[in-house]
């Protein structure tokens, strides 16, 4: 028995296979944060005046709350020195790419190594990709084909230049710059991210995805993504993230806004695999993310996330169910190992009548990690006949890790129904022995059990990514059991 617990405790970190650094010359801002840096970023991005003003306004707001970094989350980390971060770093390309074919071969190689093809000829996957490295988007595939249906899919930088009306209308409409500490910071210094607009009644014919990569040292990544699905439109979107292995902690503070107008549907999937730090807890990404969507009448937003990376995850993809009959969903698998800390969950804000939300959260903790679910279900006084169902399951591997659940429920009317179910379990030695007795080794047994535990969420992922995500789960926990 004690032997099994010992092996469960062995927290040898598996190889983080995305930990390489690409040697590319970068065009960088000096370290530090001030109005000049913000002007520098805005200028680098050839932004119009209104955008700069918006950024400066956000920055001034952030300055006013600079020493009020939120402390309510169940995480601990040394104070972040915001003056010791580089807020802009762009890979220097030999020539500015006019098309995807002209992308620096080194960069193309980086993405090939990550298993992401920027080659449109490689159409097997049928997925359009926007590739973002450090602070800039280096290219977006299938743009022309999508444009035929009026779909805009490009970097946020391009959108600010070419589609200012849409950006002005929607940016900050779901996550205002004053929303929270990290959202304010992001609004001031965001560098790149994706923009997508699906016109009225159009069903986007392929999966859209953005692939984020932090490469440069001491660099923070502040991505900004804005997705707008006009009335009756549909889009399925996926983001993936990786970073090199470095001893220092790096900051990633993103804002993602989703707008689903009446009868539109957005499915947003994330496979987050930022570098989690080594087995002693050294290094890793601090991931402070604000993700929120708003639903018009009969609209639906579904968040699916598989979180395996980052030293710290602070993330609550939420849905404002504004229109009547709107639907919000949140499916999450969060894995923490070694010294990782995750405080993640969702907010479902029921405003309209007959709105429905569903929360399925699966937390898996191993090593000495801490994994918390934090969720808010708020039913407003006019949200008559609304329904919520929440299920939070935690699975523990070993006896040095922690699982916590912080569900908040506020209802202001008597016709709505809110349900919350929670379980905590340990992978039983009985289960492992049973698998062993059928010829299945312990490592494979754990992978089977974990994938079984997370199945309900994994089933929500687009097919192409489900297999990858399953492997990722197994890799993240490799070595955490004998």
């Amino acid at each position: 028995m004690s032997e099994m617990i010992e092996t469960l405790e062995q927290t040898a970190l598996s190889d983080y296979k995305y930990g390489f650094v690409t040697d590319i010359e970068a065009d960088e801002a000096p370290l530090g944060l001030n109005e000049d840096i913000i002007r520098f970023i805005s200028q680098k991005k050839c932004e119009p005046e209104w955008m700069l003003k918006w950024r400066l306004k956000a920055f001034r707001y952030w300055l006013s709350i600079e020493d009020k970094e939120p402390t309510w989350a169940n995480i601990s980390y040394p104070k972040i020195d915001y003056q010791n971060i580089r807020y802009y770093s762009a890979p220097k390309q030999k020539i500015a790419p006019g098309s995807l074919d002209e992308i620096d071969p080194e960069l193309r190689k980086t993405f090939d190594k990550l298993g992401i093809s920027l080659n449109e000829q490689n159409r097997l996957s049928g997925i359009a990709v926007d590739a973002v490295i450090d602070s800039v988007s280096i290219g977006t595939t299938f743009k022309a084909q999508l444009a035929e249906q009026g779909i805009i899919f490009c970097s946020i930088t391009e959108a600010i230049q070419h589609h200012p009306d849409l950006v002005k209308k929607y940016m900050g409409s779901v996550v205002p710059m004053t929303d929270n500490y990290f959202a304010a910071l992001n609004s001031a210094v965001f560098t790149d991210g994706s923009f997508c607009y699906i016109p009225k009644g159009v069903r986007c014919p392929m999966e859209l995805s953005t692939y984020f990569r932090i490469n440069a040292e001491n660099t923070g990544q502040f991505e900004r993504t804005l997705l707008v699905a006009d009335e009756g439109a549909y889009v399925s979107y996926l983001e993936g993230c990786t970073a090199p292995m470095r001893d220092e902690n790096q900051l990633h503070a993103a804002v993602v806004e989703l707008v689903a107008l009446d009868s539109a549907e957005i499915k947003y999937s994330t496979v987050q695999n930022w570098y989690p730090g080594d087995k002693e807890g050294k290094g890793g990404i601090y991931n402070f993310v604000t993700k929120r969507g708003i639903c018009g009448a009969n609209a639906k937003i579904s968040w699916t996330q598989v979180e395996t990376g980052s030293a710290i995850t602070w993330k609550y993809p939420s849905v404002i169910l504004k229109g009547d009959n709107a639907v919000g969903e949140f499916y999450s698998v969060a894995v923490t190992n070694n010294f990782q800390q995750a405080d993640t969950g969702t907010k479902m804000l029921h405003v309209g009548k007959n709105t429905r939300s569903r929360i399925v959260s699966k937390g898996i903790s191993a090593g000495r990690s801490n994994n918390s679910y934090r969720g808010l279900v708020q039913v407003g006084k006019n949200a008559h006949h609304s329904r919520n169902f929440s299920q939070c399951d935690s699975l523990l591997l070993g006896d040095k890790c922690g699982a916590h659940t912080f569900p908040y429920i506020e209802t202001k009317n008597s016709t709505s129904i809110v349900e919350h179910e929670a379980t905590t379990s340990k992978i039983g030695e009985d289960q492992i022995f049973y698998c062993n007795q059928r010829g299945i080794d312990t490592e494979t047994a754990i992978a089977l059990i974990i994938n079984g535990f997370a199945k309900e969420v994994m089933n929500q992922l687009p097919m192409e990514f489900a297999v990858e995500a399953q492997k990722l789960l197994a890799i993240s926990l490799e070595g955490s059991v004998g």
Partner: protein, 252 residues
């Protein structure tokens, strides 16, 4: 095939097995009977390699190799199968997927290519008939919400899929009604061949009406105190375990 010599085992310093000797040859069916707490299930667990138990003395050879040196999964891949008294539930893992993983791990060990989905389904369909198990059961999570009888049938189904050299059935008859018992026994009998062997662990003679043993052993206080043919089981049924206890007491 299996040769147990003077096997002693304990759990948390409590001695359970006190010198077991047992020889099982290919083609034989052995039954181990005995009162509660005599060490029957411990013997099964020790043979399967459960690490809660410590072997303090003795040896076990399986097909000429030292069984006790092998990990539980190696023992399984070498052809030792344990039908659990209380099969374990694994939520979210489909029975089919579980068995497929088990079959292919075993094939890999034997240097065979893994079965693809088509070949596996074909094999599964064929073996399903043996234990009259329903396809719908196999697409459900492993043992989750299965009735007692379904769990036991699922054990025998896995045995049919894995084709072990030695199958140990730990009180597979407990909790089965007479129809389920017959189905399970029929399955075991059909799988019986000249090159494999079965070790039945049971309280009751009832199972032995359906699976007829070549040898019956009585386990008491962690030792085999009496061995005989199938008629020994009938004698036990008639006289209870008390006469064995008495015999043992007289010997001392």
């Amino acid at each position: 095939m299996l040769s147990i010599q003077n096997l002693h085992a304990s759990i948390e310093d409590k001695k359970i097995l006190n010198g077991i000797d047992l020889q099982i040859n290919a083609g034989e069916v052995h039954a181990i009977m005995g009162p509660n707490g005599s060490g029957k299930s411990t013997l099964a667990s020790v043979l399967a390699g459960r690490n809660d138990y410590e072997v303090t003395y003795g040896s076990v050879e399986f097909d000429g190799v030292d069984l006790l040196e092998m990990s539980p999964e190696e023992r399984a891949r070498e052809g030792l199968f344990l039908a659990f008294q209380y099969p374990i539930e694994i939520p979210g893992v489909s029975t089919t997927n579980f068995i497929k993983t088990a079959v292919n791990e075993t094939r890999k060990h034997r240097g065979l290519e893994p079965l693809d989905a088509v070949a596996f389904l074909k094999l599964m369909k064929e073996r399903m008939k043996l234990v009259k198990i329903d396809q719908s059961l196999l697409s459900r999570s492993l043992n989750e919400g299965f009735s007692g009888g379904e769990k036991k049938r699922n054990e025998i189904f896995q045995m049919a899929m894995l084709e072990p050299k030695l199958a140990i059935l730990d009180e597979t008859d407990s909790g089965l009604d007479i129809d389920a018992l017959r189905i399970v026994a029929d399955g075991v009998n059909t799988l019986k061949r000249a090159d494999n062997a079965v070790l039945l662990i049971t309280h009751y003679q009832r199972l032995l009406d359906y699976i007829v043993p070549d040898f019956v052993h009585v386990l008491y206080n962690g030792r085999i105190v009496k061995s005989g043919g199938k008629e020994l089981a009938l004698e036990l049924e008639e006289r209870g375990y008390d006469f064995i206890k008495q015999e043992v007491a007289e010997e001392v």
